[in-house]
């Protein structure tokens, strides 16, 4: 399959359709799931989709070394390329590697200010990211001011900024109390819930829409990649 067909047929388009256009530039999104369900894999899937659409991704990790994060991207890409019989994989892999930047910051050092500095370095050297993934730090631990700053950064860059958050109940995910109070700053909140044979993806918040039941997609439980339902 050629890359342009892969993009048009990507299950990520279903996510966008179910979410009134997806997260959208300048917005914050949070994915919530119990520990080990696959938040990071899901976000790497979203990032690889952005990279395949010529976007630029900054992946900030507070929990894993660079090699680990890179291996995650390689696995997702190889899985996708294999499943969709993508042509010219070597070349495309090289291209997306060039547009992705991984930045590891030890826990406790990732503040909106530090992220701002990191983005500036990236922007000066290679270009501003269109998607930022922050992984390994719970969104519920950010203060209101932090989230406001992060949203300003997303707006300034016109980038989508995804965060993650953990919850205790694996099958009935809800917005953690720490995040609930700040949910007005977050455009999209998604829940990942393992079900029978697949991992379900449910919207807990979809921009200003009162109806959050239009999203019906599921994830392959093995790869955590979106599948067409």
């Amino acid at each position: 399959m050629k890359k342009r067909f892969l993009n048009a047929r990507s299950p990520l388009r279903l996510l966008e359709k179910g979410l009134h256009g997806g997260l959208g530039p300048g917005n914050l999104g949070v994915v919530i799931a119990a520990h080990g369900v696959g938040k990071t894999s899901f976000l790497v899937g979203v990032a690889v989709d952005e990279l395949l659409r010529e976007g630029r991704v900054l992946h900030v990790s507070c929990s894993h070394p660079v090699s680990h994060v890179r291996a995650h991207y390689d696995t997702v890409f190889e899985e996708l390329a294999h499943e969709k019989h993508l042509e010219n994989t070597g070349l495309i892999h090289g291209e997306i590697d060039r547009r992705r930047s991984i930045r590891v910051m030890p826990p406790g050092t990732l503040t909106p200010g530090a992220l701002h500095d990191a983005v500036k370095v990236e922007r000066d050297a290679s270009g501003a990211p269109s998607l930022i993934v922050v992984e390994g730090l719970d969104a519920a631990e950010f203060t209101r001011e932090d989230l406001q700053d992060l949203r300003s950064l997303a707006r300034e860059l016109q980038a989508e900024l995804w965060l993650e958050s953990s919850c205790a109940d694996e099958r009935h995910v809800s917005v953690p109390a720490g995040l609930e109070a700040q949910s007005d700053l977050v455009a999209v909140i998604l829940a990942l819930e393992p079900g029978d044979g697949a991992v379900g993806l449910r919207a807990l918040k979809d921009h200003d829409s009162p109806d959050v039941s239009t999203l019906h997609v599921s994830l392959d439980p093995r790869t955590l990649l979106l599948v067409r339902s």
Binding site: L91, S101, R103, V104, S126
Partner: protein
């Protein structure tokens, strides 16, 4: 016979300038192998004993791993001094293969640097248990606690402080031993007199807390120690035993400290080497059984079993050709008969010796577990010797292909002979160094793993063989490959005068990712007689030796031969070989030939404020940033950069970071060059191939 439990084969390995050569020098002094201390860049013109090559003396770096041995506390310790510069990692890897344990030397100021990481990765790969020695505590800014923490964070070691420093920088006078809970001072002109006293009162509390932390970590490896802690009956023996267990399983890295230069902390480190690092019987070594389809077999460190020994290093020294051997099993004696399992040649052992840098001490016999030198036997580095009763080889060591080459020409004709002699020796000594003659230009070309690697050999030719050479510009070892499948249908016909030639071949070529060359025969019904198939393969292989795009070898191609025709009189091996060559020449432009270039894995460490500047140096060189890790005000950038863009990098990096950044580099893989670079290369090499670009 030697008691194997009292042998230690160790390496001293670390980042350049961490002081490992100085440390080795002190070890030799305290073990009374030398009677005077020389410094690495000594004013006394002697240089450190282990840095015995002229060039190393001048540059203050260790290139070749000299082997030496010493005695300490009734133990026989063989030491391999391993090089620190990344261009010589084959030396490090080769040494690690024959070691049973190692001391990882870290600078007390700079801490864990990029090269320490490379070396540590290599040690992990060869499962070498290690101790850490934090050196240079006399320097300003030394902080052993921070370095130990880096060992945990950056190298993921379970590092445990076995000592505390008494004073730092110019106040560094000794260490506190957390096992004996005593203060140890090093008196005398060269620190040779050890004075043990009570812990200074102002450090008592700190020492108790550190001991508790140490016991907590160490007790995980011994139930007896845990019980003894609960019953408050801890003995030194119980602690030593637990530390040893943790070290051998590589789950614990005991950390020692001092200043080799100021003669502090070396003797306790030697005690630790004999106490905690394994003897040869405690390390499992495997070989492959050549008489049983290369099935792996475990060797026993038993002197009564058949001999298995590995030649891990060759040198031409004042005693002639000298081969460093690690005996894994059995025994080897003077005048005994041994067989090289690669060449099957039988040799008679002449002189046998223990090497102490460039001096030798002759011995009669060596046993399993020992490292010795053998004279006058022609072999290559990595060869296995046996006593003929078994046919085994130590598994092959990973040797990367060279990525850079340089043409060399002696400045005068008289030097030609010496140059050949020098190159012959270097090639035998170092498997990553190659030398050959370019068929077209007739020039001698040397190739290796990096700019500095080749530069060192050019210098050695000058110093050791008195050969002044002129060098050409460094040439990157490009490769050619194909990007798509294409079919061939080629006839070779010559029927003018004499006996005729006829051969016809058809099939297709396609990319063979991850492999070099594969030839698949799918001819059915005898259209090409079986005896001619190898000739077709040979023809293709010959044509691939030099690609027509820019003249470099073609790799990553699968050739599938499906059909063909032969003639009962005019077909021959030669005709089918020619048809194979012609077929490849015909099909190559249709298969979208591409140029591949060696890409290096680059790691740059710099203070945070320079990360933008460092990032730019990578982007300007067509590099791909893999990631950035920020830590303690420092930032480590990992990237992949084409080798062709890395010439002169050290200077650029120095100038844009005020000399505060450092980098290490090693070969990563071959990658396709971008279109515009390919066009430039085609112009540069005068390619005449018109690539059929139609999709």
């Amino acid at each position: 016979m030697v008691d194997l439990s009292r042998i230690r084969n160790i390496g001293i390995s670390a980042h350049i300038d961490s002081g490992k050569t100085t440390l080795t020098e002190r070890v030799l002094f305290y073990t009374q192998r030398i009677h005077r201390i020389h410094e690495v860049r000594g004013k006394d013109d002697a240089g450190a004993t282990m840095d015995f090559m002229e060039l190393e003396k001048e540059r203050g770096i260790t290139i070749a791993s000299a082997a030496t041995h010493c005695e300490w506390a009734g133990h026989h310790v063989n030491i391999i001094d391993t090089p620190g510069h990344v261009d010589f990692t084959i030396e490090v890897e080769r040494s690690l293969r024959v070691l049973d344990g190692a001391v990882l030397v870290l600078c007390g100021v700079a801490g864990v640097q990029s090269q320490s990481m490379t070396v540590d990765r290599q040690m992990r790969r060869y499962k070498v248990p290690r101790l850490a020695f934090i050196n240079k505590l006399d320097r300003s800014g030394a902080n052993p606690q921070r370095v130990a923490q880096q060992l945990c964070d950056k190298l993921k070691h379970n590092a445990v402080l076995m000592q505390l420093p008494i004073g730092l920088e110019n106040k560094h006078v000794g260490v506190i031993d957390l096992v004996t809970m005593k203060a140890v001072y090093f008196d005398g002109d060269n620190g040779e007199q050890i004075r043990v006293e009570d812990i200074p009162a102002d450090m008592q509390h700190e020492a108790e807390a550190a001991r508790e932390t140490m016991l907590d970590a160490v007790s995980l490896f011994s139930d007896e120690l845990t019980e003894a802690i609960l019953e408050e009956k801890v003995t030194e023996e119980l602690i030593h035993e637990a530390v040893r267990r943790g070290t051998l399983s590589q789950d614990l890295t005991p950390v020692f400290m001092g200043s080799a230069y100021k003669n502090k902390g070396v003797q306790p480190l030697l005690d630790a080497v004999t106490r905690y690092l394994p003897d040869p019987t405690e390390v499992e070594n495997t070989a492959v059984d050549l008489s049983n389809d290369e099935a792996p077999i475990t060797l026993a460190s038993d002197p009564n079993k058949p001999l298995v020994a590995l030649a891990f290093k060759l040198e031409d020294g004042r005693y002639g050709q000298l081969t460093y051997l690690r005996v894994y099993q059995g025994r080897i004696g003077r005048a005994s008969s041994i067989v090289n399992s690669r060449t099957k040649k039988r040799h008679k052992v002449g002189r046998l010796g223990r090497m102490h840098a460039s001096e030798m001490e002759e011995i009669e016999e060596a046993f399993a577990g020992d490292i010795v030198a053998m004279f006058g036997i022609d072999c290559a580095s990595g060869d296995t010797f046996t006593d003929e009763s078994i046919d085994v080889a130590m598994s092959s060591m990973h040797v990367p292909a060279p990525v850079i080459s340089l043409s060399v020409k002696p400045a005068d004709t008289k030097s030609q002979d010496n140059m050949s002699k020098a190159l012959g020796r270097f090639v035998r000594e170092d498997p990553t160094f190659h030398s050959g003659v370019d068929k077209e230009s007739g020039e001698t070309v040397i190739s290796g793993m990096g700019e500095l690697h080749l530069e060192v050999y050019v210098e050695r030719m000058k110093r050791e063989y008195n050969v002044e050479v002129e060098t050409g510009a460094p040439q990157v070892a490009y490769r050619e490959a194909i990007a798509r499948r294409a079919e061939f249908h080629t006839t070779h016909k010559k029927q003018t005068g004499g006996s005729g030639q006829f051969a016809q071949v058809s099939g297709y070529v396609e990319p063979f990712e991850g492999g070099e060359f594969e030839f698949v025969n799918e001819v059915r019904g005898g259209n090409i007689p079986t005896e001619y198939i190898p000739a077709v393969e040979k023809g293709f292989a010959q044509a691939m030796e030099k690609g027509r795009l820019i003249g470099f070898p073609v790799q990553g191609v699968r050739i599938v031969l499906q059909d063909g025709k032969s003639h009962s009189v005019d077909s021959s091996d030669m005709a089918f070989q020619t048809a194979g060559r012609k077929a490849f020449r015909d099909v190559y432009p249709k298969a979208k030939p591409v140029v591949m270039e060696p890409v290096m894995k680059l790691e740059v460490e710099s203070p945070n404020e320079f990360q933008g500047a460092v990032l730019k140096t990578v982007m300007q060189r067509r590099g791909t940033v893999v990631g950035t890790t920020e830590e303690d005000g420092f930032c480590r950038l990992e990237a992949e950069v084409p080798l062709s863009e890395m010439f002169g990098y050290a200077t650029d990096l120095r100038s844009c970071t005020q000399g505060k950044a450092e980098f290490s580099m090693e070969f990563s893989r071959y990658l396709r060059v971008p279109g515009e670079v390919q066009d430039d290369l085609k112009k540069q090499f005068g390619s005449r191939v018109v690539v059929d670009d139609e999709d």
